[in-house]
Amino acid sequence: MGTDAITDEDLMLRIGEGDQTAYGMLVDRHLSLNLGYATKLLGNSAEGEEVMQEAFIRVWKHAAKWDPARKTKFTTWFYRVVTNLCYDVCRKRKPQENVEILENIPSSDTGAENIIAVDQRSAQIKKVLELLPQRQSTAIMLCYFQGLSNKEAAEVMEVSLNALESYLVRGRRKLAEILGAERDQLLKEIG
């Protein structure tokens, strides 16, 4: 039986019995994707790494309490843990504290001429996402960047499907407005 056939929930049960191999498999499956999520949500790679470390401590500590009868998906539970830890980090930040712009993260874009333009646009998106209310940016992160369905994202955020959809619509509208306004401003300055 291949390792892919073992579900995350089965791995959690094995981790609960102290199986370190199962823990390693779970880390392999979820670290990279969730690190990207935490980094985008916090806008800071160092804080993202701290959150991931704390999240996996919780996986290890609480695995023995994992109850398969509740039929909770591991990914939903884990996203919820990471999201809440990110919110905690945001709350602990001082109000005037500026989060450093992510740097030295290798871009997967191979077009050398395009890199600067893409980086600039991405930095702009990052800035605008930080301006959005936390729930709206979380909804966008989960649905667009993490590829979760609306239902799954609603479960992670512990809101109704309608509320989630409302966050998405309002968030996207606001993003488009701010980016459109900035683009118009830039075009005016150039023109």
């Binding site: 990207g36 790494e49 470390q53 309490k65 993260i105 996207r172």
Partner: protein
Amino acid sequence: MNENKLNDYLDEYAKTYSPEPSRALVDSIMAIPRTVEQDQGFHLPTKLSDWFLFLVPRLSGLTAACVLGLYMGSAGSSALAEDEIAEMDFLTYEVAEDGINLEENVDTLLDVEEFIFVEEDVQ
């Protein structure tokens, strides 16, 4: 800005800000099982004998707590009674004939009665 353009921008952003975990992070996460102790899970027993072993110490504890509560409750009520008795030492006594009000304890009252008795004898 139209929807397609926004999606393109979001895709670019997702690709740009997707850091790979550093070696140090992976090592520290993989070291967690060696450094952090697991919480023990709580599961209800499934077999009848397990239920017996599960219930006996809990019921014993509960019974002991109830007995102790009853004992402490009764001890508390006797203490209250003693307080009430102590208050009675300071009752107000009135000597009706002379119209004298005495707010003293019982011993004082006895002294006064003795005094009246001696006075009557003299007369």
